[in-house]
Subunit: 398 residues, 2 copies
């Protein structure tokens, strides 16, 4: 970034790489990111490569292994993690399923969730509870958005029988960043010699938005997707499995990708996190995700992108806070790109979002807490924020 | 099909829709089918649609629901099954995992496999055995390729405690078609009042090659992929769940796609087979698979395509059988498109396949039984078969 005068021009040039940005003001990065043209081109090229040299041939099969390796390496490098910790998955939810079903649950074991987890994750926990007679409980961290200590609350809810804590790094509903490292430390200090409390992080919102070093962060499992803040293609995500946690879970959904080929007798797992991969996937997406990550790297480092996200979310938060019929959930500037707010004049959030979509402003409602969520990325423009605020004002008048 | 003189011309025109066929003789449909250009175009168009109208918006979210419904309908129609029986999955192995992990296994229950199942499926069974203290056994049907009765062998291996039989419809290694309907009947008649023996079919090789009516076939679960004989994109398959079997399994890997939205308290499953779908997938592939299915329908009905496959595999089988250093595993013409054979002169199968790939003839080796597998589709040409046979002869001389 080369100073305040040239920066906007550079950003506008950068934005031209994202076709979705040309005809709208986009605030749904927490739902799905805008795919760069380079990703789409890479996907197309991969399809053509496969058909030209295969589709099924020794040549293409070797190429797919290399594509997967390169993709795990690109991901690992962004996450500050060794490559052998990365499992490629279809989405973040599959990553959470791998960790949650991988534990050898015993009747009476305890699984702790926060009250801000995604409904899909809650459903996994409830089915595990039913099948294995596991106790599931939920701790209230939603109310710590503006005051209070989520680590203390989680620590208070740990039990002697707790085997897994599931939490999100960046809460999808309120936009709060949880202090994962501190929470992991609390879980470690509550662990007894025989029973380690493992921590699974739902990283749907944090990967691609927060600067990360998973080795330092300390979580055992970190499930993510490429299609939100990384702006990769939908249908490709992953799971980080900490090296000293890999033997604490077993593969559940299993296929040829996770086992050593041509073993006689009992199949044996691959030595690294590839053991959790299952079978045939949409391999052309691998090049698409790498192209998306490379596009962001061209603009700046993790830290630079994160700072830009925070500048822009602070601007949006300020502008929204100035509207008398809007209340932002955060009482101080958000810690990342999610800005959640409510209408205080009794108007319907659903109808506001519908109205905004008609004006080509894309936002979404959240069910719990009942609010509207706007997401800004490092390449969001001040003009887009201004346009959004103007449209929200015009809806209030309409 | 309009007679022997016009047919080749029509077929040659039809083949021009498959870019992979232009530069090779392709015999790996059992590994991956050749994607039609219409599929690639449909995938590209879907990516562009999503970026233009979203990517995440009410408009695109509604479009994705419609895309998924249309895809389930296209699949259901090809399989002779009601649309509500179809779960979309990433691949056939995920479909097998859904059924196998979905059973409420109790210690002492029995799971029966055949000795021709894919290593990934064997690994699932072994992990289920370990976790739930289930007994897994394997029955020898490989040797019934040319004589013997696979139904009788399976029936002999059923136990009072058997809860699931896993078999393939079209064996991936030897090319044998198992009499699934007869086997299902045998399992039904062995079922006691309290315990029904369920049948899971690995349909990796049968969907897109055999004419099917799953309602008549009677299997409880039928797992398939779009990317082999249907020639769709890799990364999209499905699972058929017979209506009266849906309550016999529970979702294991779980996500927002399988549960009813915004339910308060306990999440509840969607009423149909969608309950087994998890979360975000590569949605653009849906249009790609439909385009592939439509491409085949333009050429002929199921029955016409199957008959053409059998004509071509009989021709390949005859030509190979005439080579003195080749023995086909089948002693009579194959029942579908898989033609497996061995070299009787001690030459390496692996090296033969490598040599053939250098000559742009794509085949593969199989590990058990140790053989080479050539697959023909309805659009395989006699000239391709002739070329393959010539190359195999030239390898023998070389």
């Amino acid at each position: 970034m080369t100073g305040i005068y040239s920066a906007p021009t550079r950003l506008e040039r950068h934005r031209q790489q994202f076709p979705a940005l040309t005809n709208k003001a986009y605030f749904n990065f927490g739902g799905q990111g805008t795919l760069p043209q380079a990703s789409l081109d890479a996907i197309q090229k991969a399809y053509e490569y496969i058909q030209q040299h295969g589709p099924f041939s020794a040549s293409v099969n070797g190429w797919i292994i290399e594509e997967a390796n390169q993709t795990r390496m690109a991901i690992a490098s962004e996450l500050g993690a060794p490559v052998e910790t990365i499992t490629l998955t279809e989405d973040v939810t599959v990553g959470c399923n791998i960790a949650m079903w991988g534990i050898d649950w015993q009747p009476g074991d305890h699984l702790l969730l926060t009250d801000c987890e995604h409904p899909g994750i809650v459903a996994i926990a409830q089915e595990i509870a039913r099948r294995f007679k596991v106790e599931v409980s939920t701790c209230p961290i939603m109310d710590t958005l503006n005051q209070g200590d989520p680590t203390a609350i989680i620590a208070q809810h740990l039990q002697k029988t707790t085997r897994l804590v599931v939490l999100s790094h960046l809460l999808w509903n309120t936009g709060q960043v949880l202090p994962v490292q501190e929470i992991v430390d609390a879980c470690r200090s509550h662990s007894t010699g025989s029973q380690m409390i493992r921590v699974l992080v739902d990283a749907a919102q944090s990967v691609g938005s927060l600067p990360l070093n998973l080795t330092e962060l300390g979580a055992d499992f970190y499930a993510f997707t490429g299609h939100k803040w990384w702006c990769g293609p939908e249908g490709l995500g992953g799971l980080y499995v900490r090296p000293d946690a890999i033997e604490s879970i077993s593969p559940t959904f299993i296929g040829w990708r996770g086992i050593l080929p041509n073993a006689t007798g009992k199949p044996s797992w691959k030595p690294d996190a590839q053991r959790f991969e299952v079978a045939t996937s949409a391999y052309p997406l691998y090049a698409g995700l790498r192209a998306a990550i490379a596009t962001h790297q061209q603009w700046g480092t993790h830290q630079e992108r994160y700072e830009q996200i925070c500048q822009m979310s602070e601007y949006l938060w300020q502008r929204l806070s100035q509207l008398e019929f809007v209340r932002c959930l955060c009482t101080s500037p958000p810690q990342a790109g999610l800005v959640s707010f409510v209408l205080t004049n009794g108007q319907s959030h659903q109808q506001l979002v519908q109205f905004l979509e008609q004006q080509s402003c894309m936002l979404r409602t959240i069910y719990n807490p009942n609010c509207v969520r706007a997401c800004v990325h490092y390449f969001t423009l001040r003009q887009e924020v201004d346009q959004l605020v103007k449209e929200i004002e015009s809806y209030q008048v309409a």
